[in-house]
Symmetry: C2
DNA sequence: GTCTATAGGATGATAGAC
DNA sequence: GTCTATCATCCTATAGAC
């Protein structure tokens, strides 16, 4: 991404960009901040649509993969640090910290409602989920960037990843009778 | 990575590099090929040291993380496609394909010996493991590149990731009595 | 706020002497 | 095979007119 290219895309000349951003890194920083906000907003949205229960976990994973798929370069900037020398500012990192605490809250709710049953504490369970999602997103972008969601290796492994979590953390979920008593 | 920088590191001037590589992409390609070979060799080594059994799974995950930790830029080149426009040549991709079939063989052996018990087929189980390892390596490099192996968020989540696999794929492994009959 | 012009560097790659 | 010299291009960023 060059300043010239960015300027062309928004219909101005490169030097005019410096009216809005004092450096290229400042532009990266704003991208990082906006990207994190957008990702958080989308996760909020799908969570509300899904409602409580195991579907929320599915929704989280699916929406993450969809986000990485729609904005591969943005995903890279947010989660893979592709730009040597660029580190998000403190303000931008607050957005990243917000994402993490959002995820904590989700996991905490799932634990409280019995949707997730594990001996891990909230942070540990959250990190396990984060690893899974990062692995899916990173693999997808690296190995099959163009492949439609749900297809290819990543698409096929996706349900098995979610299934792995369900098997380990809520083996009785498939059987409604076990849920009744709770 | 600039040609000038590479040349300086090996004690020659930049133009002399073109005696050995006809372009920068050719140099990337050789790095990719050598990197894949080294990674495969190390996985082979630790597998032999670990012997058969569940330890082999631990060894695989740990050695992968160690590799990504020791050679973060190389990991990036091999598994995150950080260079726009660079795609490994056919010969280099054969090495990557070899890594994948190595992993298939390992998973197949674990299934055959009963170390892993799952309804997934070999390729599906392999992809699940690949996702986990990629997630661990990618997160580590992005968020805590300098942190010693075993420490930090990645270090703490590592045993839980392996534990997740064991719980889902071999819940009886902790209990030796169940192993006896097999 | 936008532009033209340009500074000031770094880069990948080549020419040609030795 | 190695070097010096250099090309040609691209880049971020600034100066200054309008």
């Amino acid at each position: 991404m060059s300043m010239h290219g960015v300027a062309r895309r928004v219909g101005i000349k490169a030097p005019s960009l410096y009216t809005y951003f004092e450096s290229k890194h400042a532009l990266y920083d704003e991208l990082f901040r906006i990207g994190m906000r957008e990702y958080r907003a989308r996760l909020d949205q799908v969570e509300q649509d899904a409602g409580p229960g195991l579907d929320a976990l599915d929704a989280f994973v699916h929406e993450s993969l969809r986000f990485a798929d729609e904005h591969p370069e943005l995903f890279q900037l947010l989660f893979e640090r592709p730009v040597p020398g660029f580190e998000p500012s403190t303000e931008a990192m607050e957005e990243a910290a917000g994402l993490l605490s959002d995820t904590d809250s989700r996991v905490r709710r799932m634990m409280a409602s019995g949707v997730i049953r594990t001996e891990l504490d909230v942070e540990q369970a959250r990190d396990v989920i984060v690893v899974l999602v990062q692995g899916l997103m990173s693999l997808k972008r690296a190995n099959e960037p163009g492949v439609r969601a749900g297809e290819g290796r990543t698409g096929r492994v996706l349900p098995h990843i979610v299934g792995l979590l369900k098997t380990a953390w809520n083996p009785g979920a498939e059987d409604p009778s076990k849920e009744q008593g709770k």
